[in-house]
């Protein structure tokens, strides 16, 4: 065999080898390494023993929580667990602890004993759907999951880290707090207090004694608000408020860098004070004292106070009697 023939033969063999190797690696990955998922669903109904439930506390850092009010007296808890395999699924725990005082505590946890393989957070999940008597007060916390509450009459406290909070048709005093998940509250009938750090707050149809909302880095959009005391505050986000001014009510909207837009329907007298890079109070009957633009509108004995101020933004105010 000549040297040239040897070279050609070796080249053909090498090409075949490279092609074969590439062929093996070029297999589409999803069919070869499917990510297994085991799902377990369960439903538990808990009837009150003697005393009716008055408080519900739910804590789930592993997924979503949904609380829906109903007219019955029992708690119905639907659980959906998801994990890559059975062993991991067994690590996901849901516990229910009823108290003698009519309280019920539902919490989720991950068993850390006897595990030889790590389970990533994205692969483990527990979602809870709870139907609860609408007249009990609730407290719920999630991490990155979504938190939804609807149809409850006694108010409650909700907290989220990065998860979103959505509440609808709630009566009673309600507090909603989130780090970076958006907060959306609608059809709220009672005092509302909402606070976020890095997320917007959306409010629609709020009718209660007070509405207090603050967002550090996030906008506040409030529509159809009717409350005697309204306080909206942001550091950087814009604030929009549209609602009805109560007689002798108080509205304070403030921001460092955000623009402020307020549109109110009202009766009676109101005293408006505004500060901003540019101020438009919708009337020419204004006066400026030490940088504060002021206007007295309407007539009557019970004067509502409206205070609007932004250091770096603009203020736009309109009232419709």
């Amino acid at each position: 065999m000549t040297r040239a023939a040897l070279l050609v033969g070796l080249g053909v063999w090498a090409a075949a080898a490279v092609s074969a190797g590439d062929e093996a690696r070029a297999q589409p990955s999803p069919p070869e390494t499917p990510i297994p998922t085991v799902v377990e669903r369960s439903r538990l109904e808990v009837a009150p023993a003697g005393r009716a439930f008055v408080n519900l506390s739910v804590e789930n850092a592993l997924g979503d929580v949904s609380i829906e009010g109903h007219d019955g007296t029992a708690l119905v808890i639907e659980t959906r667990k998801r994990a890559p395999d059975d062993a991991s699924l067994d690590r996901l725990r849901v516990s229910l602890v009823p108290g003698l005082d009519g309280s019920v505590r539902i919490s989720t946890a991950v068993d850390t004993t006897g595990t030889d393989r790590a389970l990533s957070k994205s692969a483990a999940r527990i979602d809870l759907v709870i139907r609860a008597p609408r007249d009990l007060r609730f407290a719920a916390r999630v991490g990155s999951g979504q938190l939804e509450v609807s149809g409850m009459d006694a108010g409650g406290d909700v907290d989220a880290a990065s998860g979103t909070i959505t509440m609808r048709n709630i009566g009673g005093a309600t507090n909603a707090r989130s780090i970076s998940g958006a907060v959306t509250l609608s059809e709220m009938f009672g005092p509302v207090d909402a606070q976020t750090i890095n997320a917007p707050v959306k409010l629609d149809t709020i009718a209660g004694e007070s509405l207090v909302t603050s967002a550090h880095r996030g906008a506040i959009l409030a529509r159809r608000v009717r409350a005697r005391r309204i306080e909206l505050m942001t550091t950087t986000g814009d604030v929009e408020l549209e609602g009805e001014l109560a007689l002798a009510g108080k509205v304070v909207v403030s921001s460092l860098r955000g623009n402020i837009t307020v549109r109110l329907r009202g009766r009676g007298a109101m005293a408006v004070r505004a500060m901003g890079q540019k101020v438009d109070l919708g009337t020419t009957k204004t006066r400026v004292v030490k940088g504060v633009t002021m206007a007295e509108l309407g007539s009557g004995d019970e004067i509502a106070g409206i205070d609007l101020r932004t250091r770096h933004g603009v203020v736009a105010f309109a009232v419709n009697f």
Binding site: L7, R25, P84, S120, T235
Partner: protein, 226 residues
């Protein structure tokens, strides 16, 4: 394990879905391959970020549209002559075959020109211990991290507000400054005294509210003009 296999198995590994033997081999590869290690760290952060996004509902007609397009392409394929289909299927291998020939020629040239050298530890890096592969963070640890993330988010926001207030406090009356400082000390003490969890978060929230009010409407925050 080589880089291609590592890339193929990486997603399953990060999801905790890889068998123990494959996971061990993959970790071994990550200890010695900086590129794959960087890729793993990136994917891990992407997974965590994606998990935090709210779910998006696809439009109702999306799947129907995809199926319709697939069907159209299959109908078009059916009309292509057999020799064109064969040429199309072989086309991807042509550059690889040429590359293989070139590689073999280069290897032979090297074999002729150089004497064999003693084999060393190919993967060992002189003077550097193998770095730890980015192991899966167990969910139990991730939850602890999430809890500390809440604390640090409040701490960062409070620091930012205090710094912003610092820009304006030079204009305050000394009595207002004194009152403000005393209130901040009081609220910070509440934060420090509270155990982690809801009580501590409430303390942070109260401090945040006070600082934001002081920043945006100072005379209303403490009911006196600054």
């Amino acid at each position: 394990m080589n880089c291609a296999t590592c890339q193929r198995l990486l997603s399953a590994y990060l999801d905790g879905a890889l068998g123990d033997r494959d996971a061990s081999a993959l970790r071994g590869h990550l200890r010695t391959c900086e590129a794959c290690r960087a890729q793993a760290a990136l994917e891990a952060s992407v997974i965590d970020t994606l998990h935090q996004l709210p779910p998006v509902e696809p439009p109702p007609g999306l799947w129907l549209a995809v199926r319709e397009q697939l069907a159209q392409e299959e109908i078009a394929d059916a009309g292509v002559p057999w020799h064109r289909r064969l040429a199309r299927s072989l086309a991807p291998w042509a550059p690889r075959a040429l590359g293989g020939v070139a590689l073999a020629a280069a290897a032979l040239a090297l074999w002729h020109s150089r004497a064999p050298e003693p084999r060393g530890e190919a993967l060992a890096i002189e003077g550097e211990a193998p770095r730890a592969a980015p192991a899966i963070v167990d969910v139990s640890l991730a939850l602890v991290e999430e809890s500390s993330m809440i604390d640090s988010s409040y701490r960062d926001a409070v620091s930012e507000l205090v710094a912003l207030i610092g820009e304006t406090r030079v204009e305050w009356q000394p009595s207002y400054t004194e009152k403000y400082d005393a209130r901040v000390v009081e609220l910070r003490a509440q934060v420090d005294a509270a155990a982690s969890g809801p009580a501590r978060e409430r303390a942070w929230q109260e401090l945040m509210r006070f600082l934001q009010a002081t920043l945006t409407r100072p005379e209303l925050a403490m009911e006196v003009a600054p």
